[in-house]
Symmetry: C3
């Protein structure tokens, strides 16, 4: 059965702040995004959750510890930390974090239905920090029908 | 020439169901998404097509058989099936499917213009199943102007 | 502080054209997308920037030359040019370009706040051409509140 909403359009935006203790961290943010969607009053629409930096990502995966270890091992294999990235000639040492961002994409668009995130079973939203220990932001923008 | 629509906002949602015969399959879903866009009555906007599972993807590529073989070979190389993923300590054996999902992204946002998908030449929407033989869903949500 | 807009909905679309001199190029398009957002008159919403081909990408990264060299080297490692892709039996020689598109994703959704792109520090939008020297298009569609 199709679900259909028509009415007044609204856009609602909040920013999540992160300053991780470790350089690399995986942080579940589903509940925070749900709160923002609820606060928006939007009944149906799209919710963009996007990293505002080049060395972090937002993705949807399972909140399972073993899998998280697999993901970190895999990221390190496909986009390894190396000393000799050309980007490091600028004084940076986070070339791998830029590539990990490219690999896992910076954002997801989460559907909003009946005033809540319309996620499948086990789908959780994560902020993946690849070069932390400094202030970083994620934008959460909900666009839809009130 | 810019294309511009203004008016009443609408959100329209349907779910596609899959239960593939094989563990891994690539299924063209462009026509089904087009039908949903047509049924929505939305003239201009954005159409989110997103896997509701952690072991499948939705992406846009060419409907060419040789390329599909290349894609499967490439996916197996970059995110190989392995017995020793830590995720498998939970009893699962689909760690590779989670990584293939991360690699190819779970979703696309397809533009809708003049009541139809605004796709380029050869662009077709695919559902990529990495761990099938069980019921799975894709959400199609169209948000735009009627 | 949340940012909230309510009102009339609008969708506004333009297409960017590319015909690169080289087969592979990375082109910064942030300013062009900003112009389109300004022309749209949309105050708050989402801006989809999406390649209309299967052998190009749109992504957000840093406008730093050394990093760009790292990205090209990395792309060539993970999705290498090869003569023996099965896709080449059709007469094509761009199998690697299809895989590079899959790896880096074809699109980004950029938030629009207060009539401008809401990008983080150093975030620039790039068109990545993996098989150029022919006419190609990117769609820029802004959906939001006027």
């Amino acid at each position: 059965m199709p679900i259909s909403f028509e009415g007044s359009a609204k856009a609602y935006t909040e920013y999540l702040l992160f300053n991780t203790k470790n350089r690399r961290e995986l942080i579940r943010i589903t509940d925070k995004v749900k709160e923002i969607v609820r606060a928006s009053g939007i009944k149906d629409g799209l919710c963009l959750v996007s990293a505002m930096h080049l060395t972090a990502s937002v993705f949807i995966q399972d909140d399972e510890e073993g899998l998280h270890e697999d993901i970190w091992e895999w990221l390190e294999k496909l986009a390894p930390f190396r000393k000799d990235y050309k980007h490091h000639l600028t004084g940076e040492d986070n070339g791998d974090a830029h590539l990990k961002n490219l690999l896992t994409h910076l954002q997801v668009v989460v559907p909003v239905t009946n005033g809540d995130l319309d996620l499948g079973p086990w789908q959780e939203i994560f902020y993946a920090e690849y070069d932390g220990q400094r202030p970083k932001r994620v934008i959460v923008k909900v666009l839809g029908i009130v």
